[in-house]
């Protein structure tokens, strides 16, 4: 007995109707837009591409964590402060205390992931909204970061990490570049631009793919597979969709949520470590507003703010939109304050489209 009132759904419609549609349309829109207004500015030459892919990858790394956490029904507003905190801790341990960089990185990861767990425990045990608990941590961590930095160095910027990281085995995993041989080969073939003068003459301007991008891709694939292909992914959806209903069928909701807070802290620390290794310094004010940029990427990507619905690939596309718009306005010579206007507009448009699609998919009314 098939219901005669159900219309046959066409294949095209089924392909079109997916949570990422808003983000896909947005991404196409911004690419077309910048190809038109900044197509000959070098934005789509190798160096320009590296420029906006790195920025997008940074957004993507924190967006993956924020995405899984949001689907599990919680927020983390302390991501930005966590980035600043992790960077300063790495710098203090390695430069000030003279620890090997690998040890500084590992200890920092352990510390920040524990802080993520504390966030999670507080949210679960107090039953307070994560918005409030992590807002408190936004201030606590930022304050601690500045205090620690001034206490140990009388400055809010700690340099010298690059020197300390020389010869370290772990540092290149975050700050290095891969496929350098391939890029040198392309340069030798004359396919990509090379330096013509100075000590690096003959070497390609773009030496390779920064590890940051590899981390972003790795985390996106990990997040997407975890969410859509595993039992744990089903628990993430269930925890955010209706925690009580999930508990009644035996889903360990508390464990899922706490683990997601820890994962968010992990992603923030990956971001921080890569940034410290790239700049060779840490600053106490790094990561400002990153929590909101991560949440915006996730929402552009089709996730529901109240949890239970979303897509990692969508969030990654949201991060791509973010990166392309930010750098594209720079390339096109536009006033940089317009970045926020443009971004706000895309946010509204994508969310309107996403809401409409979600209603079709889930039968929400």
């Amino acid at each position: 007995m098939t219901d005669e009132r159900l219309k046959q759904v066409s294949t095209l419609r089924r392909i079109m109707i997916r949570p990422e549609l808003g983000a896909i349309s947005g991404a196409i829109l911004v690419f077309v837009f910048f190809l038109m207004i900044a197509g000959d500015s070098g934005m789509f030459a190798p160096q320009g591409i590296q420029n906006w892919t790195v920025v997008s990858a940074q957004f993507a790394i924190i967006a993956v964590g924020a995405c899984l956490l949001m689907i599990a029904g919680e927020f983390d507003l302390s991501v930005g402060s966590m980035i600043g905190f992790a960077g300063i801790v790495i710098a203090i341990l390695s430069v000030q205390w003279g620890w090997p960089v690998w040890a500084a990185i590992l200890v920092t990861f352990a510390l920040t992931i524990s802080l993520g767990a504390v966030n999670g425990f507080l949210v679960i045990k107090t039953g307070l909204p994560s918005f409030i608990v992590t807002l408190a941590f936004l201030y606590i961590l930022r304050g601690l970061t500045i205090w620690l930095s001034i206490l140990t160095t009388q400055k809010t910027v700690i340099g010298g990490v690059k020197k300390a990281a020389e010869g370290d085995w772990l540092a290149p995993i975050f700050g290095g570049k891969v496929f350098t041989g391939f890029f040198q080969w392309m340069a030798d073939q004359g396919w990509i631009e090379t330096f013509t003068r100075g000590t690096r003459a003959g070497q390609p301007v773009v030496e390779g793919v920064p590890m940051l991008i590899i981390w972003a891709l790795g985390l996106i694939i990990f997040g997407q597979v975890l969410l859509t292909k595993t039992r744990f992914g089903n628990w993430i959806f269930a925890a955010g969709g209706d925690a009580q209903a999930a508990r009644y069928v035996g889903v360990p909701v508390n464990r899922v949520k706490i683990l997601m807070f820890m994962f968010t802290a992990f992603c923030a620390t990956v971001f921080a470590t890569a940034q410290v290794m790239e700049f060779g310094s840490a600053a106490a004010d790094r990561g400002l507003l990153k929590e909101f940029e991560a949440i915006i990427s996730v929402v552009i990507g089709g996730a529901l703010l109240t949890g239970g619905y979303g897509s990692v690939v969508g969030a990654a596309l949201g991060a791509l939109i973010f990166g392309v718009v930010q750098q594209g306005l720079f390339f096109s010579g536009a006033e940089s304050s317009l970045f926020r206007v443009f971004l706000g507009t895309i946010l509204i448009l994508a969310v309107i489209l996403n809401t409409y699609i979600r209603r079709i998919i889930t039968g929400e009314r």
Binding site: T2, T230, R231, G241, Y248, V251, T362, G363
Partner: protein, 259 residues
């Protein structure tokens, strides 16, 4: 009649100064639908939450398959074979039928060291089990939110049955449904009974209870007013017992016997 699979004796539950249950006895046998009736605030919810392990009784004993049981959590009760389908907490509307059906019991397929959710198996079984209950899904990946209220209850019942429930507690499964959907859910309850599962059917609608019930127990203000077998009691008597007699009789005469 066979031996009761679950027997609740003299259950009392106090919340601080409030006596929610003041000595309730109740039992249900395999292949039987035992209706628990009562008006709002009669203690139905507290009672079934005690049966399903959410609350621990202040006093009284619970015998499950003849042995005394102390459920520490809903998980314990579930492991023993007591499944509860709550009225609005049955399903998560944003998730697909398959994801809902297997929630908490996801099948695993190993590829190397990795353990994946076996969607192929999950989708196939979901479609089969739904078909058995008379629901033809468009596709197993469709969200539960696109189903009607009756279909959602049916998915939840099918899920409980598939995962080996011996006792199925249904908390007001028909109270928010239309006529047609109600009859579908009642038909589902009948199918479940025929599989030899004990069904505890909570409702405040006498007609729904009489449609499928074998026995009827009425709760009022935290106490049992008595248990009757099918055929021993008329709808009017049940209705009166539920509402506490007197006042309703007066109300009813002014409403022309339509309640």
């Amino acid at each position: 009649m066979t031996e009761p699979i679950i027997e609740m004796k003299n259950i009392e539950k106090h919340f601080g100064a409030v006596i929610a249950l003041g000595g309730v006895s109740f039992d249900v046998c395999p292949g039987e639908v035992h209706c628990l009736l009562g008006d709002n605030g009669a203690g139905k919810s507290t009672f079934i939450k005690t049966m399903s392990g959410v609350h621990r009784p202040t006093s009284g004993t619970i015998l499950f398959e003849g042995r005394e049981m102390n459920f520490e959590s809903p998980r314990d009760a579930m492991a023993a074979g007591i499944a509860t389908v709550y009225q609005d907490l049955a399903m998560i509307p944003l998730m697909s039928v398959t994801r809902n059906f297997w929630m908490g019991n996801e099948p695993i397929r190993k590829i190397g060291p990795f353990r994946f959710f076996d969607f192929e198996l999950a989708n196939r079984v979901t479609m089969e089990e739904m078909a058995k209950m008379g629901i033809n899904l468009r596709e197993p990946s469709q969200a539960v939110g696109t189903l009607s209220g009756g279909e959602r209850q049916t998915v939840a019942i099918a899920r409980a049955v598939y995962f080996g429930a011996k006792v199925l507690i249904l908390d007001e499964p028909t109270s928010a449904l239309g006529v047609r959907q109600t009859s579908n859910v009642l038909a589902t309850i009948d199918k479940v009974r025929k599989q030899g599962i004990a069904v505890v059917f909570i409702t405040h609608n006498v007609r729904h209870a009489l449609a499928v019930g074998d026995r009827f127990t009425v709760l009022n203000r935290g106490r049992t007013l008595g248990t009757a077998r099918r055929g021993e009691i008329t709808p009017e008597e049940l209705q009166d017992m539920m509402a506490g007699g007197q006042e309703l009789a007066q109300l009813e005469s002014s409403l022309g016997g339509t309640v």
